[in-house]
Symmetry: C2
Subunit: 146 residues, 2 copies
DNA sequence: TCCTTATTGATACATGGTATCAATAAGGTA
DNA sequence: TACCTTATTGATACCATGTATCAATAAGGA
C-alpha cells in the first residue's frame, strides 16, 4: 500500500524552476524529507541536518520547510503530536494514514472519497477546493502484533 | 445542512459528571463556545470572556479548552489559520466544512464516508480508530455571491 | 576571476501555550 | 447560616515554537 515514488532530483528541479538558487542546505533538507518514513517537524529536520552539516541555521530550516510546503513537495500532518510535522507529497492525491503505534505514515488511495466529495458538491451548492483527510489507527503490521 | 442541536446545559452536566465543581468561568466559556458560529481559539475565547467577565485569567481559559476537548464537547479544527481553533462537537459523528470566504463552520453528514472507511479496513488489515476529515471551500451562500 | 545579489546563520524577538502558587470560592457539613 | 476543606482561579514567570533582522557568505552569470 506504501508505494512511494519520490525522487529528490525532481524536488531540486521544482525548486530551481521556482526561481531560487541551489544550495547545499536545500539538498540536505530535501534528502532528509524525501527519505523519512516518519512525519518530521522543522525542529527534527534541523537536528538531523546538523548531523551532516553542523552549522545549519534553525531559521534556514524553517524557511526551507515553508518553501517546500508552498511548492507542494511536502504536506502537513494534522496529528496527535501537533500539527507541525510533514511528509513528502505523493504525485497523486492521496489520503494519509498515521499509525498510532509505530508512527509511520502510509498513503491511501482517495479516489472513492474524491468521487464522494464531488457528488456532494452537486447537491449542496458548496464548492470544495481543498481537503484535510487523515485516518489514525494501527497499521496491519502493528495490528498483527497486538 | 447546519442543524446544530447544542445545549449548554448538557455541557454543564457533562462537566459535573466528570467530577469538577461548577464555576462561573465554566458557564461563561461553555456559552461562548456553544454559541459561536465560527471556530474559536483559546485566545479568542479569552478575549470574548473578558467582555462579560474582565478578571478571567488566560491560563484558566486554556485549561477549560483542554477540558472541553478531552470531554469531547469541542473539537479541534485543522485549518489554514492554524490548528488551534475549536468548534462544538455534534452528537453525531460529522465531517467539518470550513468556508474560506466567510469562515463559518458547517457540519456534513459523514455516513457515506464512514461506510467507505469501514470497507477499507476489511481489505487492508488496518484498524482505524480516529479520523480527521475536513473540507475547505466556499459555502453555498458565498458561492452564489461570487 | 570578479561582482551582484539571493541565501544563510546568529541573534533577538514575538506568539502560543504551560507550570507555579497564593488567593478565592464551591459546596458539603454542623 | 456560618464554617471548613479543597478544587479552581488568576497573576506571574516560564518554556517552546516559530519569525524578523541583518551582516556574512556563497551562487552563478559576466
Amino acid at each position: 500500500m506504501r508505494s512511494r515514488t519520490i525522487n529528490p532530483k525532481d524536488w531540486l528541479t521544482a525548486l530551481v524552476e521556482s526561481g531560487v538558487r541551489v544550495t547545499t542546505v536545500q539538498e540536505t533538507l530535501i534528502d532528509i524529507f524525501a527519505h523519512s518514513e516518519y512525519p518530521l517537524s522543522a525542529e527534527q529536520a534541523w537536528n538531523v541536518a546538523r548531523q551532516s552539516r553542523p552549522k545549519t541555521g534553525r531559521a534556514t530550516v524553517y524557511r526551507m520547510v515553508e518553501k517546500l510546503e508552498n511548492l507542494g513537495l511536502i504536506r502537513r500532518v494534522h496529528g496527535y503530536q501537533g500539527c507541525s510535522h510533514f511528509v513528502p507529497t505523493l504525485p497523486e492525491l492521496m489520503m494519509l494514514f498515521i499509525c498510532l503505534s509505530c508512527g509511520r505514515a502510509e498513503y491511501l488511495d482517495s479516489q472513492p472519497l474524491d468521487d464522494l466529495i464531488q457528488q456532494s458538491e452537486h447537491t449542496s451548492g458548496r464548492h470544495i477546493t481543498d481537503s484535510r483527510l487523515q485516518l489514525f489507527g494501527a497499521c496491519s503490521d502493528c495490528q498483527q502484533k497486538a
